[in-house]
């Protein structure tokens, strides 16, 4: 059950957690957002492997975020574990409902319908006063099982929360990739007929993957809401979905680790680029994407595997 890659990953998570207090606050905050986003990317990887590229993961991301924000604001809930669990669950329910429709589509139509769904949410959020309309609203800082940290302590507490949940998710998804559903992603895309004749419903398989990716995206959104302490409709906008797709391209879908490392690197580079070369970030990102698609279609993560002697398959 514990492969070398799993062990290495677990150690990495522990090392990062231990190092956090020694790192500057801005870096810890950045890493917090990066890992929250990495969860969304992980969900995308699951679908991408099955040949599906959704352009509307922001639907689940925003659902998770707004669930946390609304419960915090109108029901007075403060405990982060509760909020995050409900946020992820809410997104999962949305994914389950939307999946009845979405799972019947493939290729570009899947992408477009997914986009339409997320834009419907966007439209609702923007125009509804109680949901904060265009400005969104502030999210009160959370409590951790009664403990209410502030300042640096809060900064670290949030980071460890995200890190912990990321580690758990990473582990679970690694297991998932060894199940029938996870391992047959590529075959499902290559040969639906054969799977059907083997007795497996590809539509239901995709529905399952949508729900898993929805839960992950909702978890990411819920964590982001707490970390940034703010939600706004832009979290449901198509450019947000696009952002997640970009990181997935850059990182590649070869491994679970790629989602986290890729996300972290992405946020770091973005921070630096916006600092040093304001006004060029989109140009840089667009160029990086173009180059990756043209020359490294398996993402930058694949570079790492080419350097190692015997790469684990889909660790």
């Amino acid at each position: 059950m514990w492969s070398r890659a799993n062990l290495f990953g677990a150690l990495a998570f522990v090392a990062v957690a231990a190092a956090a207090p020694a790192l500057p606050a801005w870096l810890v905050s950045l890493a917090t957002i990066a890992f929250a986003n990495a969860l969304v990317v992980l969900g995308l990887v699951i679908l991408w492997r099955a040949g599906l590229v959704p352009f509307g993961q922001a639907l689940f991301y925003a659902t998770g975020a707004y669930a946390v924000a609304l419960l915090s604001r109108y029901a007075g809930w403060r405990d982060v574990f509760l909020l995050v669990a409900v946020g992820a669950a809410a997104a999962g329910v949305v994914a389950f409902l939307v999946g009845f429709l979405l799972a019947r589509y493939r290729d570009i139509f899947f992408a477009m319908l997914s986009l339409a769904m997320s834009m419907i949410l966007y439209g609702i959020l923007v125009k509804t006063e109680t949901l904060g309309s265009t400005d969104g609203f502030h999210v009160e800082s959370g409590t951790f099982l009664g403990y209410e940290p502030h300042g640096r302590a809060l900064n670290l507490a949030l980071f460890w929360l995200v890190l912990g949940l990321s580690a758990v998710s990473a582990f679970l998804i690694t297991l998932y990739f060894r199940t029938v559903a996870g391992a047959l992603a590529m075959p499902a895309r290559d040969n639906e007929i054969r799977l059907e004749f083997l007795g497996i419903s590809v539509t239901r398989l995709i529905h399952l993957k949508l729900v898993i990716s929805g839960i992950l995206a909702g978890l990411g959104g819920a964590l982001a809401a707490l970390a940034v302490a703010h939600v706004d409709p832009n979290m449901a906008y198509w450019t947000t979905s696009g952002g997640f797709v970009f990181v997935t391209i850059l990182a590649g879908v070869g491994s679970v680790a790629a989602a986290f490392v890729g996300s972290l690197v992405f946020e770091l580079v973005r921070s630096i680029a916006i600092d040093l070369l304001p006004g060029f970030w989109q140009l840089i990102l667009g160029s990086a994407l173009l180059l990756t698609i043209l020359f490294l279609p398996e993402g930058l993560g694949s570079l790492f595997y080419r350097l190692r002697r015997a790469p684990e398959k889909g660790s």
Partner: protein
């Protein structure tokens, strides 16, 4: 009664806008099977180019009519150059790859071009309202209609008729129709699909830029107009079906009227309505209202 009339006129004007913005995208989608995100850049470049053109003609004191023509021509020239550069330079490298990959490539190009706009025109907003003001307005009962808006509807109608006629009655148009229907068969018949692709993309770019140009006088030309427009154009094309001029027209009308109705009756639904219609159409007719589902080739 007044409300119904207002809904119809608003709807028609908005439909004209949507059609002009979407027709180029529909054409490219139909012929090349590419969901071209860069279309938003064509629109934006067209709008910015128009703003610059308006600045020039106003400064030189040209008459409004020729000024307007200048604005339109400038935008289409930009569209031509941009389309050519993109198709020959970028798209050519990814033909044959998975269609979703191509969409992502166009998205990457769009991002690059967004920053290029800032490099050329800076982060400030531009106004190009002169043509709109110059056109004046007319009164119909209690309603004041801008002549420019009426002109917009006329231009949209003209473009619709011209494109439709060109597709059905010119030799080149019929070539395009064949390629839309089945690229492989078209190539087997000796049609030079590579050239068709380049020309189609350029025409699509020019139409996109035209859309941006004629809308410039109505909006504030600023960063981000491309972003909003793309997803609207997608919605119209998804509804109407790819490669179908009639589809883009009907799609634009449906969305336009629905949106106008929402604005006047239930404002909260304004944004929701467009995407809800898109979702509904995709559910019942995933290929759009006016395309036949392509038979699956085994």
């Amino acid at each position: 009664m007044l409300t119904t009339f207002a809904i119809l006129t608003d709807g028609l004007v908005y439909a004209a806008y949507l059609f002009l913005v979407a027709v180029g995208l529909s054409l490219i989608f139909g012929v090349m099977k590419i969901l071209n995100v860069t279309h938003g850049s064509f629109y934006a470049f067209g709008a910015y180019g128009a703003a610059t053109a308006v600045g020039i003609y106003v400064e030189r004191g040209w008459p409004d009519a020729s000024g307007f023509l200048f604005m339109v021509l400038m935008a289409m020239a930009i569209g031509l150059v941009l389309g050519f550069v993109l198709e020959r330079g970028v798209l050519r490298l990814v033909y044959g790859k998975d269609e979703v990959v191509i969409v992502l490539v166009t998205y990457a190009a769009f991002l690059i071009l967004e920053d290029v706009i800032v490099l050329i025109w800076g982060p400030r907003s531009y106004g190009a309202y002169q043509p709109m003001v110059a056109a004046g307005s007319i009164e119909i009962g209690d309603l004041i209609l801008s002549n420019y808006d009426i002109g917009l509807v006329a231009i949209a109608a003209l473009v619709a008729v011209l494109s439709y006629w060109a597709l059905k009655h010119t030799r080149y148009g019929r070539l395009l129709t064949v390629v839309i229907f089945d690229r492989e068969t078209a190539a087997a018949f000796g049609i030079n699909v590579t050239v068709v692709y380049t020309v189609t993309f350029i025409i699509g770019a020019m139409l996109g830029a035209l859309g941006g140009a004629v809308m410039a006088p109505k909006i504030s030309v600023t960063l981000g107009i491309g972003v909003e427009v793309i997803v609207l154009a997608f919605a119209v094309v998804a509804i109407g079906g790819m490669g179908s001029i009639e589809g883009a027209l009907i799609g634009a009308l449906i969305v336009g009227i629905c949106r106008a109705a929402a604005v006047h009756l239930v404002p909260q639904l304004e944004l929701f309505v467009i995407y809800a219609v898109m979702a509904l159409v995709l559910i019942f007719r995933p290929y759009g209202l006016f395309t036949q589902a392509a038979p699956r080739k085994i």
